[in-house]
Symmetry: C2
Subunit: 207 residues, 2 copies
């Protein structure tokens, strides 16, 4: 399989959401032009992305929304459940435990850890906070597939190492620091400050 | 000025963070190769990005870290303060009020709104929650430049409209829905579920 860029995957995620929206509205077919407009890109890009994955609309008819959503869901791995743990029961960790989009997309948050004894044992959403000391053992036991790091920068690499030692190979990192991982492990860095900087760039230069 | 792509701006934000890290460590010069390695891209891309903005390293010497950080900060609009408001005092809104990265980068959260009477008047971090009815008036008064939407999907467009009517032209949207804005207004959508989908894609296809 050819290498797919992160921006392609990002666009697939957007198409997926647009299709979900259209299906909710009872719309059965969609053209590449309509999908393009919903996501503010060109229709040529939409066609290119989808043809890459072997999906073709019918000229004059467009794509069947349900079929396309299922296909993109298969590509993105969304038509199944993923077991997820969160490390860090601060503001971000707490927000993520009850994040409806995760649940809807099949990301099932099963474990929540913190190293603060005052937090351990307390309940956040449907989860009881466990002590980080138990991380490796509990993550292995539960067969966690995706780890979300929501600890301070200084602790992020250590937590990542423990996750990897417990067999986790996909990490979403909210700590404002780069995490080093070997080949075969993927880290996505989520940094809201980077998103807002696109806005300050815009206000400074483009407006 | 030529049009700069969102992915270029995103890379500039990453260079900025890498430089900050190097400066904290007392490192005075950096090569494009080192910057490339820190951000997992090619050194040719680093040189291309920086030369686009008129910044050139010296062969064999590289870039002066402090100077480069200042230049990128100027480009991204980070060497000044921005006044920010947040609408929605739920989990996400609360996490953002006390998000240290915002403060550090000059994004000053000044107002927080919610429509829930039970939340209005309560204090979150350094801010008192105001009723959303006051949004337009208060945003105008404070001269807010960037609005962050952290309300449910159904309310997002209405809130965006009020922000725009109050003169805000840069919006960071956490609601899982597309917001329509006219030319001259920029919206960035922050969707953590999209980040995690790159991981499920990886686990499904690339591993």
């Amino acid at each position: 399989m050819k290498k797919v860029s992160e921006s392609t995957i990002r666009r697939l995620s957007k198409y997926y959401r647009s299709l979900e929206y259209l299906i909710e509205k009872g719309i059965e077919t969609v053209s590449s032009e309509q999908l393009a407009e919903m996501d503010s890109i060109t229709s040529a890009q939409v066609r290119k992305d989808l043809s890459f994955f072997g999906t073709f609309g019918k000229r004059g008819l467009g794509y069947n929304t349900k079929m396309l959503m299922r296909q993109i869901g298969d590509i993105l791995g969304l038509n199944r459940k993923w077991s997820v743990c969160i490390i860090g029961a601060g503001n971000i960790g707490r927000a993520l435990v009850s994040y409806q989009e995760f649940k809807k997309q099949g990301f099932d948050v099963q474990l929540l850890f913190d190293s603060d004894p005052k937090k351990v044992g307390s309940k956040i959403g449907h989860l009881k906070v466990q002590h980080s000391d138990r991380l490796k053992e509990a993550v292995k036991e539960a067969g966690i597939e995706i780890g979300i790091i929501a600890v301070p920068a200084a602790a992020a690499q250590r937590v990542a190492n423990e996750l990897m030692e417990a067999g986790v190979s996909a990490i979403l990192n909210f700590a404002p620091v780069s995490i080093k991982v070997p080949e075969g492990v993927m880290v996505k860095n989520e940094n809201t400050a980077i998103e807002i900087e696109a806005l300050s760039y815009f206000l400074t230069n483009d407006k």
